[in-house]
Symmetry: C2
Subunit: 334 residues, 2 copies
């Protein structure tokens, strides 16, 4: 079987990676339709599936599609994903629009593939920071339930889109050249700085990004009892998010067992030598399909605690790759 695939938001940071990954993973594509804004319409994109002209997004162009990947904003998904479903497509949505809806599966295929069963046309792709965290924690959670998670993130600028990458590069060069520079996509200078603020502030003082990591993790791990606190911070890294994670489990796991459990996961690469360079960093994870884990050690501040360091390409595993893996899973399960 081969399929008609459409990508909404094909010229954005995630859209571009979807195009690359469909090719890299030999996805069974019959026809690839690239949809974008009026402004990007007409642009020609060279792909493994031919040279394709970007078309302006419209309801009509959702006709005849088997799978539509939405890599647009939440409002757009909210409006058009149900229309794509009504026209017979399965939608895999990268926005936060449907993630916490009871009748929409929120899926990391190696963690909760069973959630895909009986879906009603829309499947939500979790937030990037959530995906790599649950991918790394699930093997441990299955062995002994996690009771509490404290996580601090080191998030790459590409999570804020293409313009944010350009801004980091431009600001950096201007600072090195001692030239004045502009702040546009962030609230403060991002070059040679870190910013403890991603997405809007909520009433409890956490940001929406931080609370996504809470709500989505509970849903994906199907466990409403896990206590989670997140500190989400933007760092001047182009690509791949890192997370320092401290967990407490019901029973004692220990670092040796944790390392074994993680090593047994084919989607995870453990890099954990206690020596120079014996741990993953963003540059190691960039354009890799794996979730990397290192710095695994027993948390000396609590009973049954573990500390670890998780790195993954948030445009791939944290977005485009996970979306494609969802589609692959649906196809395999047919």
């Amino acid at each position: 079987m081969i399929y008609n695939i459409a990508i909404a938001g094909a010229t954005g940071a995630v859209g571009k990676e979807l195009i690359r990954l469909l090719a890299l993973r030999d996805f069974p594509v019959r026809q690839l339709t690239l949809l974008g804004t009026e402004r990007s319409a007409g642009r020609q994109i060279t792909t493994r599936f031919g040279d394709i002209q970007v078309q302006a997004f419209s309801e009509e162009r959702l006709e005849g599609q088997d799978y539509v990947f939405f890599a647009t904003n939440g409002d757009h998904s909210k409006q058009y994903a149900p229309i794509a479903v009504s026209k017979g497509a399965v939608v895999i949505d990268n926005s936060s629009a449907f993630r916490l809806d009871d009748d929409v599966p929120l899926v990391v295929p190696e963690v909760n593939p069973e959630a895909l069963k009986g879906h009603q046309g829309i499947i939500a792709n979790p937030n990037c920071s959530t995906i790599q965290m649950v991918a790394a924690l699930n093997p441990i959670h299955q062995y002994s339930p996690i009771k509490r998670i404290v996580v601090s993130t080191y998030q790459a600028v590409s999570g804020a889109g293409e313009a944010a990458i350009a801004e980091l590069n431009e600001q950096t060069r201007k600072i090195l050249d001692d030239q004045p520079f502009e702040v546009k996509n962030f609230t403060k200078q991002i070059a040679f700085n870190v910013i403890p603020h991603i997405d809007v502030f909520l009433d409890n003082g956490y940001t929406k990004e931080e609370m996504k990591m809470v709500g989505e993790t509970l849903k994906i791990l199907s466990d409403p009892n896990i206590k989670i606190s997140a500190n989400c911070v933007r760092v001047p890294v182009i690509r791949a998010h890192s997370e320092a994670i401290n967990i407490e489990t019901e029973d004692y796991v220990g670092e040796q067992k944790a390392r074994e459990l993680l090593d047994d996961c084919k989607e995870i690469r453990v890099i954990d030598q206690r020596e120079n360079a014996g741990y993953p960093t963003p540059i190691d994870a960039s354009e890799s399909m794996y979730t990397y884990v290192g710095r695994i050690r027993e948390d000396i501040s609590c009973d049954n605690g573990l500390a670890l360091w998780v790195v993954a390409d948030q445009l791939w595993k944290g977005a485009a790759l996970n979306a494609i893996q969802i589609a692959e899973h649906l196809i395999k399960a047919k």
Copy 2:
């Protein structure tokens, strides 16, 4: 009263800041002696106290000093600080050599000034990451004892010395220009990357930097019962360390009370509006004498928990400024 002051390691990252801060704080200097390696000897440095020639460090040059600031490595301090004391000087040592010695006070003046009483000539300046953490946590700890701390750091490269700053700048420029670059002072590329490793690895899987934050905090807060776990990470920031901190206290404090307690500290600046730019970042704290706190909120993952974000210039409050404040305190207490 005015004093003879010597700085050992005067041409290093911390030594330079000591010279600037002695001037900025109108420290009562009679004569300033700048000591360095053989290599830097002879170099002329312009200071508020005149143009001073750097001299090669030797025991003789410790003669006649009232206060000697050591901004050299631990081995050097270990060997020469006792000699400086035997010649009648008070030593304020920035290395880790004496920090955990029972008969050496480890001091952050606004936190544990009482520890200075009865010192035996050497006073240890804590590690940079520790200073800003205890400075921010002590007001809360005095109100309700802290039981547990989980901290993840975002540490600037200048903590690794002058050469590390040059390496970040050089690597960054080469990457922007698509040129090959070298890795010298770090274990991996630091430009556009983060590295979860500072100082050597210990048997329990933590790094020495992480365990310094444990041992030093217990000593400064005089409370052996606090449980602490740290994740120390180098980020491509020139100056000022940031820390995402989650604490649990004996009794309920609440974010409003925590904010008041911190606001009442004259060495702390609270920047905590829940809106764009309403929090401190490294560029805000660079070359500032304050410890900045923001993102204060109740930790939703535990009882009596608080989460906060602490930023300070680690070359100033985390090193040179704290050392000078120790000397100022000793002078005032005379």
